[in-house]
Symmetry: C2
């Protein structure tokens, strides 16, 4: 389990394309209170509009971690960034990276991190410890898991939006991160894709431990049972999470699994039935409480029509968690689990 030191300085390197700064933007949107500043190298052309803090000033400005907030092409750390990262880690702040390059593999950075008062090098892609195999024992407290018709269509943001909406209603809720950006946002979590198959369900059990009876863990889903490569992680996370409630996440623009043209997106009712039936293994009381769509590119009118049609056919609330009101979905969640 990662435990990151907030607040963050978002490192933007040489960013030219806002799409490459997705991680940094997610952090700014979902944990604004933890994001104190940004730093881009000379020549970069994207800004998040945050105060600039130089890496060597980070510690004295109260920063806990410098977070690499952009994805360079190929996932490798460009050598031009090394001096900035060394300055930050020497000053005492941690470096947090989701890149393929292990931070310790860069000699200058490793040496800088070994000095007195230096910060830690944290590779979010690597497991921090070994996890036990799942026990299957039912835990106290309540759990919601977001699941999807495909990968990368809003499972993380749906979970974050739900956690926020529950908190607004004064209902105790904790976002539980299972991927790199989620872990940076939450400041803790387990990267499920870094684990061997036999330990995924066990790690998911550790991620949402026993809690008070009315507390909701809102767990970020991974992958899809309909993905020919990634369903194993999805199923292990589903079993170990023991969800009481599922929300199916979906992107209406997709006709097939992203990058797998021969694999159609499933029918929504079939997908709900499939997830519920697999989830019953570890929680016989599981229910699907709503559909969350990513309506990017849809007109307001089309979105409203989509919601009407699908609320009727699925008999469930349908939302775009970043755009529409979540009251009905929260009611569905809470009423299904009153007893």
């Amino acid at each position: 389990m990662f435990e990151l030191k907030k607040p963050y300085l978002l490192y933007l390197g040489d960013v030219q394309n806002p799409l490459d700064a997705k991680t940094a933007m997610g952090l700014k949107d979902w944990c604004p209170e933890a994001v104190l500043g940004e730093y881009a190298r000379p020549g970069a052309s994207v800004s998040l509009g945050l105060p600039t803090i130089a890496p060597d000033q980070a510690h004295s400005r109260g920063i806990g971690s410098l977070v690499i907030g952009i994805a360079p092409t190929g996932g490798q750390l460009p050598s031009a960034w090394v001096a900035d990262l060394c300055a930050a880690v020497r000053s005492g702040v941690d470096i947090v990276s989701g890149l393929h390059t292990r931070l310790e593999s860069i000699p200058e950075l490793y040496h800088a991190s070994q000095q007195d008062q230096a910060g830690r090098l944290i590779n979010i892609r690597e497991p921090t410890r070994e996890y036990p195999c799942a026990t299957g024992r039912k835990r106290s407290g309540k759990r919601l898991l977001t699941v999807g018709t495909d990968c990368a269509l809003g499972k993380k943001y749906t979970a974050l939006a739900l956690t926020r909406a529950l908190a607004k209603q004064k209902i105790a809720a904790t976002f539980r991160a299972t991927g790199q950006t989620g872990i940076m946002i939450a400041g803790s979590g387990i990267a499920m894709d870094a684990l061997k198959g036999d330990f995924i369900a066990g790690a998911a059990e550790c991620l949402s431990p026993d809690n008070t009876p009315e507390h909701w863990d809102v767990i970020e889903g991974q992958g899809s049972l309909y993905h020919p490569a990634y369903a194993a992680v999805t199923l292990g996370l589903l079993h170990g999470s023991q969800p009481d409630a599922l929300i199916l996440c979906h992107d209406p623009r997709r006709s097939h699994i992203d990058e797998y043209p021969d694999y159609p997106i499933p029918d929504l009712q079939q997908a709900i039935d499939c997830y519920v039936s697999q989830a019953r293994l570890t929680n016989p009381w599981v229910r699907c409480v709503g559909l969350a769509i990513n309506s990017t590119g849809m007109s307001e009118q089309t979105l409203q029509k989509y919601i009407r049609v699908h609320e009727a056919s699925l008999n469930l609330p349908v939302v775009d968690p970043l755009k529409t009101d979540l009251t009905e979905l929260l009611n569905s969640l809470l009423s299904a689990h009153e007893n």
Copy 2:
């Protein structure tokens, strides 16, 4: 993918209990042509009835690999064995181990393996390479996968028995190993439990590559979709294998998942339906062609009655692959996939 050098010398260490020599016995039963001898230390009390070959004589007697054929308590390599293993590796034979201890972590053994003409140190628990993510592309040739109502109830031996039965009928078939003992028997394979979740389906695709249209890959299943800890590996292997045929393996004596008393063994028809429905994602033509039971401890009369009752209720051939005739099961397999 492991590629082991046969023939084998089976190393039995200080074995006192025949149950601890399960791996060695499996090798003797399933690849007798590849097992030339055994070696136990003075004081051991179990023999497989094979010629004794001393480790330092292994190479001159034509041995390719010394295989550690017993499971010591705790999975660690006892220090008393090190001299034997050093003698063998120095003589030029490979050492093959499924223990938790990495062979290279024993300094004497590592040094012995670095000498001229020395053999290799092979840890079956560790992946030999990285595998790509699954492509989901349909491959040529035919595939059978054994699946189970639980772990450890005969998936490997069912696959081996089927491969043997197909070969007897002059039908081209290859056993594909996915676990340690299976890999030792086959001399190659991929240990699925050593892989990160996102690569399980991809590795399974590599394990049974394109083949001639009538060739059968008979793939050793792992875990169970009904196991609260291990279903992730099962699903990844199911998707990547793209099986045309499934055989459900079952132990009628079990009422619940081994070591998980709160998890009942599923109804057989439900289990068949569940496996078929998940397997359809990557192969819409998949069918379950039979039930294979482990009838240890059952009288002949009870076994025959069990077979009659379940053949009628499931409308499928039911066999104990180590005891009963497989003709009907082979007919079911071949007739379902004639076209």
